[in-house]
Amino acid sequence: MCAPIASFAAQSDFFDGTLVLPIATEPKTFNVLVAQETSSTEVAQYLFEGLTEFNPKTGAVLPDLAASWHHSPDGLVWTFRLRKGVRWSDGSPFTAQDVAFTFEQVIFNPAIPNGARDIFTIQGKPVTLNVLDDDTVEFHLPAPFAPFLFSLTQPIIPKHILEKAVHDGTFSSAWGLGEDPARIVGTGPFRLAKVLPGERVELVRNPYYWRMGHDRRPLPRLDRIILMIIPSQENQLLRFLDGETDLFVMRGSDYPVLKPLEKERNFKIHRTGASLGSSFVALNQQAKEPWKKKWFQNRDFRRALSHGLDRASMADIVFNRFAVKQCSPLSPSVPFFYNDETPCYDHDPGTAKMILTEVVGFQDKDKDGILEDEEGHPLEIVLMTNTEDPARLQLAQMIREDWRRIGIRVHLQPLEFNALVSKLTVTHDWDAVVMGLTGSVDPHFGANVWLSSGNLHFWNPGGGNATYIETKVDDLFGKAAVTLDRNKRKEYYDEWQRIEGEELPLIPTVLPEVLYAVRDRFAPLTPTALGGPFYPIEEVETKRS
């Protein structure tokens, strides 16, 4: 691309104190309790706060709307002292009534479907709460719940604005895109100023924000955040280079294009490590054909397959080197709980083939390059993946080639996401799948996947067929959920990661790195994969030139 003669995006005073971010899809609602997709929750992080806050750098849970807390020795009663003097962005005082409203009238309201209710339902029973006075709330838990503090990052919403909608039964549709921005009220550092559907969302600083900087100057430092809705990645790149936007979330393949332009176009590329979540190949241990079921249930078979994967090439080819090998079910970006001693499998086709022939008992009797089991069934697997993600499709193609080399014939079957989900969770009609799952920073929230009875335990569903090892995992998760000592919890989850590394129900592949290109007129910047490029957003300011 040639150097620009004139950039359309003018650099005027207007941009002082303004951060312009691109987003691929527009927020669908500002109602953070019913929002389901990241496009909506991404905006919510600027507008709302919870009782606690998660620090993405240390993994610690810090006070936010709650100033302090203590719990009873049995961990069943938690008392939170709320921060004094906090105001909503319309100036009304924030009180314990708002906390009670959020939990009692919204989250546990049977008429309002929401995901938060599942988090605060512990062993089938809801968390209850008592308002002791305007500044104190007491939560009663049906059982000790270790991730409770982390769960309380749950945004609190204003009673004085939303109570009417709850009573009218219109809560789920309240705070949509067409709502008057002045009525969308939070305690976060910014408040909503304007919404132009499909075009942009403008946030301005919340004049009532409670937090003070270290130098006693009020926070946030930025006057304005403008979220530009730019659906095409191609267009996001052009407009970032042109100077219109201040951030570009890069793919590995963008690196060679962008790196030489850093100085000339005034930005810097930040490598922040592996993305949260997981990426793996799963084998159906309850496959329809009995012989396949036998293969897939065999741990040595799965180990051979893991040895067969050339993860270095996957990182090179699919992500242009910007990916890390995954070993544990947790991402290496998960602070504190990630176990870096989880067993890993090197690319070693020789060992893989040796395990398949000598340990599992496959042989290539007809010399066609494809192994057969003792009953003569050729080692053929249908590998599914979803069509929406080109990187995943590419991974699946590489897996097919890798496994072909160790004597497995793989038939690739890309499917629409919804079709794939229905095969995995309803009909159970699948052999192998290349997938990713969204991760959480607290391993407990993977329980739905890892508990043998979990509804996402799709490789051996139902809980009725749980193996001895799986019941051991159930036990570890159960203990870790009720143990409040953080170090003790880590021991349980370390053990779990070690077991999954040995057992390989999900064979990990590679996780892409998170790369941000950020305009260099902002400071201080400490980007992380978990916290994003600008955490903590209230401290970020534009540099005066």
Partner: protein, 328 residues
Amino acid sequence: MSPRHSFFNRCLMAIPLLLLLPLLTFWLMHLMPGNYFDQLRLNPQISRATVEQYEKLYHLNEPVLIQYVYWLKQLARLDFGYSFAYKQPVLDILVSRLGNTVLLTGFSFAWAWILAVFLGLLAARYPRSIFNRLLDGIAYAALSMPNFFLCLILLHLAAAWGGLPLGGMRSVDYEALSASGKVLDILSHLAIPSFVLGIGIFSFLFRLMRAQAQEVYERDFVLYLRAWRIPGYKILFKHVARNAINPLITLLGMQLPALVSGAALVEIFTGWPGLGQVMLQAVRAQDLFLVMGNMVMVSALLVLGNFLSDILLVIVDPRIRSGKGGAS
């Protein structure tokens, strides 16, 4: 057949069309496996009971035909239902984007039509000129190039040379501009997408108009008018134009639905905040009622467009009004 009779006939024919098109869409949407809420199923933090609660709320757990009846009942009260993703009435979402899309497509159609008719007539008058050959080349190139590709090329050129915005509808600092600055700002943002959208329409109509006009030129009445020493421009823009334009007017009506649905691809590539973005996401996420609402709107516009082009034809061509056909 009297015009009035034909009008009522048209009305009657519109009813099954308006019922069948949505049914077809409904059925096609259900051919896709799963539903909107399936994306929640793979979220480890959301329980199955929650997903089922959502499905029950919108009757997604019932057979397709029952769902369709529920939807028709709603529609009878002019209620298009709620979007799953936006949790807002479908009508509100459509209306909030309609203006932007119509601005883009309307502007593109307008310049394409006016230029096509004007240049088409001129090209028919001077078929051997360089001007005609040049336009022929442009039209040929534009018709053979996919418009998303043209769009990407233009965006890259604009990025390299500067001067034109690279997407969106308004600049970031739009609010800080003067009134005339605001108009200029929107016009400059219109330049690339409306060129891409318009050039295809222009090329097609230009060739049609030229062919029509050439054919009319060879008729006897033109010779007769010339003999009467009617000035050339008057023959061209009054007499030839009125005789040649009928097929274009029929097309005009048929293109009315394209006014709201024809720009999706260009909108996505240039980040234009119109219906295209919303609909693409809605179809992909299976946001059923939003897709249906759009479908009803587009089919209604199709019917309306056909009406309008009939009425326009009657106005432009008195032969249709009197019910007499044939050449004059």
